[in-house]
């Protein structure tokens, strides 16, 4: 009898599993977006941007301002948030990337860490330490076979996956995208082939800024908007590292993998374990397979 009460049926368990998987994919798509932004910057400019999470956070605040303060319709909120994200990205490129082009990696890391603190404390000064809700998507659940999905989940997954697709097309088919890939392979050879390196750097940060703003916009309805929401970048690092940190598809796969792993660990092991698993995976992968779970060995 007791057994029946805890696990009513095998069917219920299966549904719980699927529900968990979907939750994991939703979180994973966001991690993948963060990882994508980090990897794009890293590949093109070899800067590991510790301030990326704060760019995401600023994106969320920008959308909050356009949505709740100016009361713009949703498409305009998207557009303006992306624009302000781009401006922020360009600003950071001027402050961090340009002056420190020849500095040691440690100097660059410290500079981005400083930028992280600056953006976070600025947000806290401007908007205060509290939470804001950003209800841009419907939350009413709808039935899909026997599963109930919230509009939130669906939109998050759809929008993030379609943006990943767009980026794939951009990198593979456009001339600018090809130039960016060439630069990340070998900057000197690329510049000899006529790729303008400064322009590539500029564009990379602009694109990453837009992506960060988009990510912030998608995360905000789930978690609310608050100054510490940039901590998601650590999950993005973990996702990127799982994928080897050199390849965009690897980072995206790593993001989904991390999201699902977290969701499963959270519901089947313990909720405390949910946050730890990202860091355990991060450290373990870096120690045992520095090329990532999906990367080539050696």
């Amino acid at each position: 009898m007791g057994r029946g009460r805890i696990f009513p049926s095998a069917l219920f368990r299966k549904e719980m599993l699927i529900q968990n998987l979907i939750g994991g994919i939703q979180a994973g798509s966001l991690y993948a977006l963060v990882a994508l932004g980090l990897i794009i910057i890293f590949k093109a400019t070899s800067v590991l941007n510790f301030a990326y999470g704060e760019m995401v956070m600023m994106g969320a605040y920008f959308s909050l301002v356009f949505y709740s303060f100016f009361r713009l319709p949703l498409p305009w909120v998207f557009l303006f948030a992306l624009l302000s994200g781009i401006i922020l990205g360009l600003l950071l490129e001027r402050v961090i990337c340009q002056p420190l082009q020849r500095a040691s990696p440690m100097t660059v890391v410290i500079a981005t860490v400083a930028m992280m603190g600056i953006l976070k404390s600025l947000a806290r000064l401007i908007w205060g330490p509290g939470y804001y809700a950003l209800p841009i998507f419907t939350v009413t659940p709808f039935q899909f076979f026997s599963l109930s999905l919230s509009g939130n989940t669906l939109y998050t997954i759809l929008i993030s996956v379609s943006f990943m697709g767009l980026f794939y097309l951009f990198f593979v088919f456009t001339k600018i995208g090809k130039g960016m890939r060439a630069t990340s392979e070998n900057p000197i050879a690329a510049s000899l082939m006529g790729v303008r390196i400064p322009r590539v750097f500029f564009l990379t940060w602009a694109i990453a800024g837009a992506l960060a703003a988009l990510t912030g916009l998608l995360i905000a309805p789930l978690t609310g908007v608050f100054p510490d929401m940039g901590n998601i970048s650590v999950k993005g690092f973990a996702a990127g590292v799982l994928g080897g940190f050199g390849s965009v598809p690897g980072g995206i796969l790593g993001g989904f993998f991390l999201g699902v792993a977290e969701s499963l660990a959270g519901s089947y092991i313990s909720t405390a374990f949910k946050d730890v698993i990202a860091f355990l995976l991060l450290v373990a992968v870096l120690i045992f397979r520095p090329t990532g779970l999906f990367g080539k060995q050696g």
């Binding site: 990696p105 976070k120 000064l125 690092f237 355990l280 120690i287």
Partner: protein, 314 residues
């Protein structure tokens, strides 16, 4: 050659000894608030000196030093509560436990550099923070732990003055220790690794040994600082051991001067006193800290002490 090294020894530790005696002499006449600030200065000097051994001299970044500090503080307290160890023993074990943790973090550092190392240390720091929060049976979780008062023989370290003398004494010993270490074979190995790992290896420096040693030593310093810190806090919670604090320690050595012991003393003192001066602007503190870090890394990468040295050419 030998004489110049000896000469530079004198240059450092004679003024340091004078500072020590001076501080010890005026301490009884200071009010409690000043004493508290000076105690914090001593604590941060130990930490920054340890971090400088790792980041400044060996060139390995660490974003988890507040994690080592936390390990030290918690192990010292738990050893005193559970095993009733006398304080000096608990303090030493706290340093050793943190040192072991540092050794463990140092192992991946053999294969990773720069950015990847930053990520591992970031991850490790977060793990420590989360474990302190969630392992309630041992650490008390967010509720915290009450720290037993330290006593060494007949002396009870309860008053601010006695704590200050303890901190000052330990800080002095550890600064001198670091100074001597830097001029030994180990210190030269550290600096050669920072300069070029390949060149160091070619000259016969055992990378595996010295990198892990540098991590372990630096974490040992942080652990000792933690063992002292818990006495000052009187009540332990996981809050003061987060990422922001790690960044703050990094700021200290960047501000003071990477790769210089006196630089870390200068940086630690400045950044411990600065928050007290900026007390009225508490909301702006984090912003000012981060801005300082940014400005120094962009325009004065050798820090205050490095600049003074290049101006006066010594």
């Amino acid at each position: 050659m030998k004489w110049t090294i000896l000469g530079s020894y004198h240059k450092t530790w004679v003024p340091l000894l004078l500072v020590l005696i001076g501080l010890a002499a005026i301490a009884p006449f200071l009010d409690v608030y000043f004493l508290y600030i000076l105690t914090i200065v001593c604590l941060n000097v130990i930490l920054a000196t340890g971090l400088n051994l790792l980041s400044g001299y060996t060139g390995q970044i660490s974003l988890c030093h507040s994690g080592f500090l936390g390990i030290g503080a918690y192990s010292c307290t738990i050893l005193m509560i559970r095993l009733h160890l006398p304080y000096p023993l608990a303090l030493l074990s706290a340093g050793l436990i943190a040192g072991c943790a540092g050794f463990l973090v140092g192992i991946p550092a053999l294969r990773l550099r720069g950015l990847y190392l930053a990520m591992v240390t970031l991850g490790f720091g977060e793990i420590v923070h989360l474990v302190l929060h969630h392992w309630q049976g041992l650490t008390g979780g967010p509720l915290g732990l009450k720290v037993p008062t330290a006593r060494i023989g007949p002396v009870v370290f309860k008053s601010e003055l006695s704590l200050f003398y303890l901190f000052l004494f330990v800080a002095f010993i550890f600064v001198i220790l670091a100074r001597n270490l830097i001029h030994s074979k180990i210190g030269r190995a550290f600096r050669s690794i920072a300069y070029s790992e390949i060149a160091a290896q070619a000259c016969g420096v055992d990378l595996a040994k010295y990198k892990t040693l540098s991590f372990a030593l630096s974490a040992f310093y942080a652990g000792i600082a933690g063992g002292l810190y818990c006495q000052l806090l009187k009540y332990l919670s996981p809050d003061p051991f987060g990422l922001f604090e790690s960044i703050q320690y990094l700021t200290m050595i960047v501000l003071g001067g990477m790769g210089s012991i006196i630089g870390s003393v200068v940086g630690a003192s400045l950044l411990s006193i600065l928050p007290e001066i900026l007390r009225d602007f508490k909301d702006y503190q984090e912003l000012i800290f981060s801005l300082l870090l940014m400005l120094f890394i962009l325009f004065m990468p050798r820090g205050i002490y490095g600049m003074i040295r290049s101006v006066f050419r010594f």
